[in-house]
């Protein structure tokens, strides 16, 4: 049950930091999401994001930082098995489902629904 609280706090904190950056700098949402993906990948050099996932559960999966975490995680798992080429072959192992479904859903939603503006 405590995981729900941690999920709320972690996901909320990441979004609040994003909002502070948005309000106080000239960075656009595109800059901020890119920055957070890089941050998520960076935190996995020292296994930090893995620990956050254990601690905040689904709350750590939801922010865009988890995209960077999943990219580097898939790459490293493959690299351990097959050597340095695994960094490239395993890059999309864990994110493929998210990217593929986002593309397919976006495409069919666009074809089915008409734009309002």
């Amino acid at each position: 049950m405590m995981t729900y609280l941690y999920a709320f706090l972690f996901s909320g904190l990441v979004c609040a930091i994003g909002q502070v950056i948005l309000d106080n700098t000239r960075l656009t949402p595109g800059h901020i999401t890119s920055l957070f993906v890089v941050l998520g990948a960076f935190l996995d050099i020292f296994n930090i994001y893995d620990r956050i996932v254990l601690w905040a559960g689904g709350g750590a999966m939801v922010p865009i930082t988890s995209f960077g975490h999943l990219l580097i995680h898939g790459a490293l798992v493959k690299a351990r098995e097959t050597g340095i080429m695994g960094l490239a072959t395993g890059m999309f192992d864990l994110t493929a489902s998210g990217i593929t479904s986002a593309i397919i859903i976006a495409f069919f939603m666009t074809v089915i629904f008409k734009s309002k503006n």
Binding site: S66, L76, I103, I105
Partner: protein
């Protein structure tokens, strides 16, 4: 107090209050999406009897589906304007950016419109995600052996 003085005071205080309100909104909305994410994770692991790794894939797909659907119906743009970072930092923002780019360029055709512009907003996330994951992965692989 004259009107000018009053307006000067209003001007001085309004932006700060607005900023604090924005941060609170982003925190609460982002937090609620985090709770939904964890609820779905527990729900899928128990009801479908799968590992949490497989369930996390389903959580991400569910959120993408809902965000894309709401974007297609047209009211997710208003939500983004209201919640700002609370909605665009979670994976919902990724789905919204992709779907809205698709819908915006739809009238230019299936190939030159949708095909050329689907990654217009999300391309930066994918590009820097891959570049940083590759470099950091290389560093970790060389330093710690994976």
């Amino acid at each position: 107090m004259s009107n000018e003085e009053y307006e000067a005071i209003v001007k001085k205080h309004k932006p700060t209050e607005q900023r604090i309100l924005n941060i609170v909104k982003a925190f609460v909305i982002g937090g609620i999406i985090g709770i939904i994410g964890h609820f779905l994770l527990e729900f899928y692991t128990t009801s479908l009897a799968i590992t949490s790794k497989e369930a996390s894939t389903l959580v991400i797909i569910s959120l993408i589906l809902v965000a894309s659907f709401f974007t297609a119906l047209g009211f997710f743009d208003n939500w983004i304007n209201f919640g700002r970072a609370g909605f665009f930092i979670p994976i919902t923002g990724f789905a919204h950016a992709m779907t809205s780019a698709c819908m915006e360029y739809r009238k230019e055709g299936l190939v030159t419109g949708i095909g050329s512009n689907i990654f217009k907003l999300t391309g930066t996330v994918i590009l820097y995600g891959i570049v940083s994951a590759y470099l950091f992965g290389l560093i970790r692989f060389l330093l710690f052996g994976g």
